[in-house]
């Protein structure tokens, strides 16, 4: 008798998570797609991604120069655009973390660590793609469009699930402790 309302309540909360996730995504989109934010935040951030990538590529002997958001060597040149700077995956991750019921302190910690992890993965992506473009140019197209975009987003989703599963465990444990202390002896 109790199961149906509970399942309904569970489905409702799951649907609410999805609704919050979508609303946050649209809000994030409106913010990052606006020209002032794009010019003042996204473009300088992308240029920073290009500079860090160039440092790593130069460590591996690629002799890369940076011009704004462009990486250039004697063999290959590539422009890092929106979609290649890890911001989209970070926004996806951020929307999911903020939509998920958790204490604010843990959410903020998750956002910070998740953002850093996503940027690290994206750095590997940019460096790898530049190397592929310079040394295996035929593979650049599919690697860029399909493989690495999917890998970075999949990593973002897995990072969210890792954070959320820890969060769910903590909540279950807290609930059980509370249930235990209220149980009749």
């Amino acid at each position: 008798m109790k199961a149906i309302p509970e399942a309904k309540s569970s489905n409702r909360r799951s649907a609410l998570f999805l609704a919050r996730f979508v609303v946050l995504l649209v809000a994030f989109y409106l913010i990052v797609a606006s020209h002032p934010v794009n010019d003042a935040v996204i473009v300088p951030f992308t240029a920073a991604v290009a500079r860090v990538s160039a440092v790593v590529l130069n460590v591996f002997g690629e002799k890369v120069q940076v011009h704004g958001t462009e990486l250039r060597s004697e063999r290959f040149a590539v422009e890092i655009e929106n979609g290649c700077n890890g911001v989209e995956t970070a926004l996806l991750f951020g929307a999911a973390v903020l939509a998920f019921p958790a204490p604010w302190r843990r959410r903020l910690l998750g956002l910070l660590l998740g953002f850093l992890a996503i940027q690290l993965i994206n750095l590997v992506r940019v460096v790898t793609l530049f190397w592929v473009g310079a040394h295996r140019p035929a593979l650049f197209g599919p690697s860029h469009t399909v493989l690495w975009q999917s890998i970075v987003v999949l990593c973002g989703v897995l990072l969210f699930l890792l954070w959320a599963s820890r969060e769910a465990r903590a909540r279950s444990a807290a609930k059980e402790v509370a249930d235990g202390s209220n149980a009749p002896r």
Binding site: K2, V32, N82, S150, L154, A168, A173
Partner: protein
């Protein structure tokens, strides 16, 4: 670990604990299954991209022509591209081609997420996967319609300005841009969350299953 087990004990379930809508589990096994699912779906995607693009072009053409008067748009898919043909284009003008993979490569992400399930090859999981895949196909068709309308509204110079007002230009362009920036990555996740995750145990089912582990 111990706390995880305690949270899932039959005793706890049998007490009639409320099913947790956010019962998310990610362990090393699930992550490995996701990687294997990713690789497998990538292979399927490469093998069937061309016919899949044919179905997208056919469905999007029907939708675009439904709202056109006269109906002049024809979409032709070649591997990797969907060509937009209008019978009122001048004969000597170029035909725009849209990169198709950008629209539908997120199918690979959907496959990887469904592989997270503890038993991904069970019929129940497959059924949910196919429901999500059909819904993702609908998302792809709608995204393609937005891409074509965005092309008509913003990239055909004076013709665009003559046939599309400011509101229509913004609507189609922003819709397509949203899909490009966030929507195409969010869609597989949202579909998996809504359709793909195993149902949370209800108190009645959990009570029945208590003791079976």
């Amino acid at each position: 670990m111990a706390r995880t087990r305690r949270a899932e004990t039959p005793t706890a379930r049998a007490r009639g604990a409320e099913p947790d809508a956010f019962a998310v589990r990610l362990d090393a096994g699930a992550a490995l299954r996701a990687v294997a699912g990713f690789a497998l779906t990538l292979g399927v995607w490469f093998a069937f991209s061309a016919p899949y693009e044919g179905t997208l072009a056919a469905a999007a053409q029907v939708l675009v022509r439904t709202f056109e008067s006269p109906a002049v748009t024809t979409l032709e898919s070649t591997p990797g591209e969907i060509h937009v043909e209008r019978s009122d284009f001048p004969a000597d003008s170029g035909r725009p081609g849209l990169p198709a993979a950008d629209t539908h490569f997120n199918f690979v992400l959907l496959g990887a997420l469904f592989a997270l399930a503890p038993h991904p090859l069970r019929p129940e999981n497959f059924k949910r996967f196919w429901i999500a895949a059909v819904l993702l196909w609908v998302v792809h068709v709608v995204a393609l319609v937005f891409e074509i309308e965005s092309l008509y509204a913003t990239r055909l110079g004076p013709w665009s300005a003559e046939h599309y007002g400011a509101a229509a230009r913004n609507f189609w362009a922003a819709g397509f841009h949203f899909y490009q920036i966030l929507g195409r990555f969010a869609a597989p996740f949202a579909l998996w969350w809504g359709v793909g995750r195993p149902a949370a145990p209800t108190a009645a089912r959990a009570g029945k299953g208590a003791g079976k582990g």
